[in-house]
């Protein structure tokens, strides 16, 4: 009895409240978006809203079961779960029917499930289990490598075998967990810079420089790389002398180039490479002189990013699928294609924008009810909120997600063992990643990547997957009280 009372008092009801609010508001919006003039019954189970209600009820039931199961099971059986999940992911494409090029759905009786939605949860358990080992340190290459493999295997299977790029990219969210556990922040910064460079190279790669060989993309990327190096020299190394020398050399190089541009044709690619080599030379000289490894890292940074710039142009045109390439081009404003690749986002922005401050009212959105926005109850559900509930409603949903994520971080921080803490961070990171990518896509800020909005989008697999993820964390959290006593 006392054990049950402990359990109930240990449950974080705030999280459950936020979970229910988001799920129920999602259900209301699924009805609002699939509303047509001839369908008026929200309870009708043959319609999407009715089905979603059934998914929500079963999800609550699932959550209750999880809360009853002893949390030790995850610690003990973590790798077995992980292995079973990998097996399921591998056999899925064999059993799956092809749905819009994706091989991620399997039918179990009347319902179809997407195992990838559950993979996140079991990967999180496995990663948390490994990283909570005694003596674990992210700083050790081996200790970082194994979790990377743990998240890499399902990601690769999902991306290659199931052709679900979006679901695979979600595994990147674990980087935030590693960061919290001590991975260098420079890796995140490095990633961010790489994204910026990618955008610059793609966006300006085809703009050639007048009266010279080269393009703006590579030129701007070089400036960014060298700018970051100079900034790090000042902030991290506090070596003003080297900074000034490097800066002076770079200014001299580019100045010569610009001066010559008026006289003759100049190969700016050559000038850029020359400037990078000058940087590397100065840093190598300092490295040898001062014997400080951080100088070496800067050299590696320049080398890797320079190669990356050369590589991403190739990757963009040769590795990416044509539809993915078009999505990026549309997002970067390089292509105007309101009826093709840009159609979804264009219609989505019209839907959100036309909502105004308070929206058009539930079921009154013309963009959504008249089906102008595709995938409107799954990946693009947020534009229904924007259109029918306006700024108030859509900002409200964003704030609900923020509160949920912050609450989960708070829960993570109050854990007494590393396993549950890391797991909770995994939950927070995965949710943040989903919200960021999904809403960023709907708002036209990120390329179209089809991943659902947690607890909100229509779909049983996604809802069950997130419920599993969240409630396992709640169960662990509820158990911390007991651990305190023990």
């Amino acid at each position: 009895m006392s054990k049950n009372r402990n359990l109930i008092s240990g449950i974080d009801w705030w999280t459950i409240l936020l979970f229910l609010m988001i799920a129920l508001f999602g259900w209301i919006n699924i009805y609002g978006s699939s509303y047509t003039t001839d369908q008026t019954e929200i309870w009708d189970f043959s319609h999407r809203a009715g089905k979603q209600l059934m998914w929500i009820i079963t999800a609550v039931f699932l959550g209750t079961i999880i809360l009853v199961i002893e949390e030790k099971a995850y610690d003990v059986l973590g790798y077995i779960f992980y292995g079973a999940m990998l097996l399921l992911l591998i056999i899925t494409p064999i059993l799956a029917r092809d749905i819009k090029g994706s091989l991620s759905w399997i039918n179990i009786g009347p319902v179809s499930l997407q195992p990838a939605e559950f993979a996140k949860c079991f990967t999180a358990i496995a990663v948390a289990k490994f990283m909570s080992r005694h003596g674990y340190s992210v700083k050790s290459i081996r200790d970082l490598f194994i979790p990377l493999v743990l998240i890499g295997i399902p990601a690769v299977i999902i991306m290659i075998a199931q052709k679900e790029t979006g679901s695979a990219l979600v595994f990147l969210s674990f980087l935030l967990v590693f960061y919290r556990q001590g991975m260098s922040g420079y890796i995140l910064l490095w990633g961010l810079i790489s994204i910026v460079l990618f955008v610059l190279v793609i966006r300006f790669g085809e703009m050639s420089i007048p009266f010279g060989v080269g393009n703006h993309g590579f030129f701007l990327s070089t400036i960014i790389i060298e700018g970051v190096v100079l900034a790090l020299l000042i902030i991290k190394e506090k070596d003003i002398k080297t900074t000034l020398i490097t800066a002076a050399c770079l200014v001299a190089t580019f100045g010569t180039g610009l001066f010559l541009q008026n006289k003759t044709f100049v190969n700016f690619n050559f000038i850029c490479i020359l400037s990078l080599i000058i940087c590397v030379c100065i840093l190598l000289f300092q490295w040898i002189k001062q014997r400080k490894n951080s100088w070496g890292w800067l050299v590696i940074f320049i080398a890797v990013e320079s190669l990356f710039c050369q590589g991403c142009d190739f990757a963009f045109h040769k590795v990416l699928q044509p539809h993915q390439r078009t999505r990026i081009e549309v997002l970067l404003g390089m292509k105007d294609d309101p009826n093709g690749a840009g159609y979804n986002v264009n219609q989505s922005l019209i839907a959100i924008g036309s909502g105004g401050i308070t929206g058009k009212g539930w079921t009154q959105g013309t963009q959504t009810t008249l089906k102008f926005v595709p995938e409107q109850d799954t990946d693009f559900i947020f534009c229904t909120v924007g259109e029918e509930w306006g700024f108030v409603g859509s900002a409200g949903v964003l704030i609900l997600y923020l509160l949920l994520i912050l609450r989960i971080i708070q829960i993570a921080e109050r854990q007494r063992d590393r396993f549950s803490m890391i797991y909770a961070y995994c939950v927070a990171s995965i949710l943040l990643f989903h919200v960021t990518i999904n809403i960023g896509m709907v708002l036209g800020l990120l390329p179209v990547i089809g991943i659902p909005l947690p607890f909100f989008s229509y779909g049983g697999s996604s809802l069950w997957g997130f419920t599993l993820l969240l409630f396992i964390m709640l169960r662990m959290d509820a158990a911390r009280v007991k651990k305190q006593i023990v």
Binding site: R180, Q367, L370, G386, E387, Y401, L445
Partner: protein, 612 residues
């Protein structure tokens, strides 16, 4: 947790989440609150504005008899994009509207050809075929659901109860680009009055288009009314127009003009309302309706007799002897003659102008009119102009000429009628002093130089409308009201006084009455009508002379003033006079008792004669 070196990183992780959400909220703020353009885009997605066409106003005659009505005409429109998205059953479609595939292909090409159809777009309904009857589209209407993108629209076309008055009524045709640029009301495929009453009263007749706002889904399917019709605007039907034409008389007039070139204008003197305006050759107004319109129009335009020209207002003739009435009035007004003044006539031996009729030697004004005595009017004209001789460099002569001209123009001659709904008027011409100065030099012309004017020949020109109006002024004893078609009372106030006093008209009326009893018109007189008339024959250097006749009746209370001009018909008394009396008989008695004369005149063919 103890020993956590990276404890502070929770703030960074939280911070990342907060920043992302804040950026998104700012983006929402900019999309939903700062940017106002999305609402219009969403509306243009979801709303389909369907025009509701008003029915065009009807046209009635002066007695409330219907002349012009509407008939439905169907047109088939296509949204090419929707057709392309489905497997369009071309064969079935062609069968449904009974055209062959070849026709379908050419029509599609024409529709898509931006040079022929400047407003072409894949996404909007385009007109595929027009002017269909109910039976043509009956089958398609039943199976329309099979042809996405295809729609049937109803327009109204004109229909005419009587095949008369084409020149007056005008016609309705499709608007062109310059119409659309001038008036935003019109859209591609709309109709508007192209000429005549239809054009003059276009704004009244057309009504106001309405709009029905429908809700359309992403596939273009109609999902019912937008906001239950809250944005709908009902169409306002056009206002009917009642015109002054007398249907029965107009019909008689046009029958009488059969196989002739010429025109008839009749005016109600008291009101200035035009009772009859017929021009020949004419056409059945039905010919310029619907799909045959352009071919028939081209035929009319190519016809060498120029049927499209409204001879009643656009043909200009020298008034000939009909002008003698005004000459007599000027002589009386200026005191050159009294009713008793006599001039001599040497008949065919007269000089400088011979007389064409045989009558007594001494002629007074009444007889001068009755016998259409040329020497009388020459002598009168000469005395008027030369009363002060040619002293002071002809200044007094010219002053008298100018005075003569002023009186003539006060009868509405020499210029268009302003502020009226009669379209396309020719000006006519009363020569000015400057004209003769230029032609003959300032002192190079005298009364004798311009003697032709005395008998209405020479440089003087008038339209049949002006002639009819001039008779109306004579019938009114000194004033006329601008001739017009509408029946608004305000028009009756547009009174123009001539420069001849009322008292001088009685003797002229008497002379005109004698034309019918004893003079040139006596063969066709109808005593009970008390007709006052005057014949005229206009010299035509290109062929047979033109016949003119002006008249009003009854003498004591004029109800109708008429001018008839028949080209290449010889003497005015021969054809123009009987036609005029028949028209007056119809108007004044409501029927024609002289059926034999009527048949004879109807069957007179004056076009073939000219062809020979």
């Amino acid at each position: 947790m103890e020993n956590d070196l990276f404890h502070s990183r929770k703030y960074i992780v939280s911070g990342i989440a907060i920043i992302i959400i804040l950026v998104y909220i700012l983006r929402l703020f900019s999309l939903q609150i700062l940017d106002q353009s999305s609402q219009a885009l969403a509306d243009s997605n979801a709303q389909l504005h369907q025009t509701i066409y008003p029915s065009r106003g009807l046209i009635y005659d002066r007695n409330g008899e219907l002349l012009v009505v509407n008939q439905p005409a169907y047109e088939i429109t296509m949204i090419v994009k929707e057709m392309e998205e489905t497997n369009f059953d071309t064969l079935g479609f062609c069968k449904a509207i009974q055209i062959d595939v070849e026709d379908f292909v050419t029509r599609m090409q024409n529709m898509k050809d931006i040079n022929k159809n400047r407003g072409y777009s894949k996404h909007t309904p385009q007109i595929f075929i027009q002017h269909l009857q109910q039976e043509d589209i009956a089958q398609l209407q039943q199976e329309k659901y099979r042809y996405p993108g295809v729609d049937i629209r109803v327009r109204t076309l004109r229909n005419y109860i009587y095949p008369i008055a084409s020149h007056v009524l005008g016609s309705v045709g499709q608007v062109n680009y310059s119409d659309m640029e001038k008036d935003e009301y019109y859209a591609m495929g709309d109709y508007s009055g192209r000429d005549g009453i239809e054009r003059t009263y276009e704004k009244q007749l057309r009504g106001e288009k309405g709009v029905e706002v429908l809700m359309r889904d992403a596939r273009g399917r109609i999902q019912g009314k937008y906001q239950d019709g809250a944005l709908d605007i009902p169409a306002q039907a056009g206002v009917d127009v009642r015109i002054s034409i007398d249907r029965a008389t107009q019909e008689v007039a046009e029958q009488l003009l059969k196989d002739k070139i010429g025109s008839i204008v009749a005016i109600e003197p008291k009101t200035g309302e035009i009772l009859v305006m017929a021009s020949a050759p004419y056409w059945d107004p039905k010919e310029l309706v619907g799909k045959e319109r352009s071919t028939n129009y081209q035929k009319l335009a190519d016809n060498k007799h120029k049927p499209l020209m409204n001879r009643a207002t656009q043909a200009q003739y020298a008034p000939g002897s009909t002008f003698k009435i005004i000459q007599a009035l000027i002589g009386l007004q200026e005191g050159i003659i009294t009713p008793n003044t006599q001039y001599t006539c040497q008949g065919r031996g007269s000089s400088p102008i011979k007389c064409t009729h045989s009558h007594g030697n001494l002629v007074d004004v009444c007889e001068g009119i009755e016998q259409s005595c040329n020497p009388f009017f020459w002598e009168l004209f000469r005395d008027l102009l030369q009363q002060d001789g040619y002293k002071d460099k002809h200044t007094l002569f010219k002053k008298h000429y100018e005075n003569w001209r002023n009186i003539v123009t006060s009868f509405g001659l020499g210029s268009q009628f302003e502020n009226t709904d009669v379209r396309d008027q020719a000006k006519g011409y009363i020569p000015t002093e400057e004209f003769y100065n230029k032609t003959y030099g300032s002192r190079g012309w005298k009364a004798i130089t311009i003697r032709s004017l005395s008998i209405g020949q020479g440089e003087i020109l008038a339209t049949p409308l002006q002639l009819a109006n001039q008779v109306a002024a004579i019938a009114n004893k000194g004033y006329y009201i601008t001739p017009h078609f509408n029946r608004h009372d305000s028009m009756k106030l547009d009174v123009h006084n001539t420069l001849v006093d009322k008292k001088h008209f009685d003797v002229v009326h008497q002379g005109m009455a004698r034309v019918m009893t004893k003079g040139t018109g006596r063969a066709y007189n109808l005593p009970k009508l008390q007709i006052c008339g005057k014949t005229g024959t206009v010299q035509n250097p290109h062929g047979e002379d033109h016949a003119l006749f002006i008249a009003f009746a009854p003498k004591d209370d004029p109800q109708i003033a008429i001018a008839v001009a028949i080209e290449n018909a010889g003497f005015g008394s021969k054809s123009a006079c009987p036609i005029a009396t028949l028209v007056m008989e119809q108007y004044l008695t409501g029927k024609i008792e002289r059926t034999e004369l009527f048949e004879q005149m109807v069957n007179t063919n004056l076009i073939e004669q000219e062809d020979e």
